[in-house]
Amino acid sequence: MAIIIQPYRPEHEPAVQEFNRRLQAAGDPDLVFSHSSIPRWLAPGGTNSVWNEFFVAVEGSAVRGAYGLKQEMVFVGGRGMHRVACYHHPLSEGIIDRTYASVGALLARDALARQPLLYALGMGGSDRPIARMLKALGFSLTAIPFYFRVVHPRKFLLEMQALRNQHWRAILMNIAAATGTGWLAIKSAQAASGLRVRRPDFAAEEITEFSDWADVLWNRASTTVSMAAMRDANTLRLLYRPEVTSIKRIRVSRNGTAAGWAIVGLRRKDQKFGRMRVGSIVDCWASPEDMRAVVAAATGTLEKEGVDLIVSNQSHQSWTSAFENSGFLKGPSTFIFAASRKLTELLQPFEQNRMLFHITRADGDGLPANF
């Protein structure tokens, strides 16, 4: 029986639940597609500039695959605004049954047919199946740099499971944590890479909603990027709805005038971070001269929340400098940006322009909880 990809509708929901049950039997709890055909985050509607839509691959009465598209407006330097989509949560029955090995290709090609200006973000590394598939389809892949700042070195040394995966290394880290040598080494490295800005003309406050001042910042700072998903006040109100309490919205002003903003939050528990409380600088926006003040405000807010470690992914060279000059260290990144052929053409010269892409954990499908 033929497999047909179509918009996910309420009548597909029981078949999606069956599909999820079959995938879950494979043992990976992350293999689950939305139970609801209406996206809980960014449901389509009205004149929204950004929304999510879901598609399912249907064979008779069974669902054999599914994926999501996050439709959004993206500013491209010198080329204006374009509607672009993020390809996310592709799941295929082929994971558990090779009879359906073709479904992965069908999903990716269907997404490209619906929106040739397509990208994917995250994926857990360029060696992962989705990233490899997109590469085969001609996508350009680039890693978005990862930054971290250790707030409590002793806990970091004891809990950082990703660094403790070899027995001898775990022993050395225990010694370093117990003797204080690890604390000294981390603090020295962070101090050497810069101190946080403390200027009396900057002030930070937590806000509940974005308003007109964010439009001014969007218009001003978008001239310094080669690509950024729209972050005007309207879009920010959709992305960071006032009722979402898992994040904090920080407005930074200079001499009383808005200079930038940041979104911070506590990351979900993750085995690789052990029992650490991990804060994330999820998103940020400012002109280059105000970026360090924004990083300082975001860092200060998370430190007051009692986090042990602060992490962020940043692609724009001015932001990476601001993080490095604010005591953040660069770590290996598995956060991959993959642009379709058509999107790559739009972003030419890609290799040169990618240093000025503004991509953070807030892009793609990371919000509202997976940052």
Binding site: I95, R98, S102, V103, A105, L106
Partner: protein
Amino acid sequence: MSAVFDQIRAMAADLFGVPAASIDTSSSPQTIENWDSIQHLNLVLAIEERFGVQLSPEEIEQMKSVGETVKLVESRLQAAPR
């Protein structure tokens, strides 16, 4: 066996990392360990490039074995204007 079969068998052997002699018309994702969703896509792309055809979603889904893939490509080549 046809020339199309020989060419597809050679492609499949290269993509899936198995000897060409071990591939016959009944070979499928169930019988070839490395025939996963990524290699399926690579096979689609290789066929499109080699034979100058664009496969539709329905055709991609029909490629359940080497034999069915050969039949599909042969029918496309016969239907193509000369």
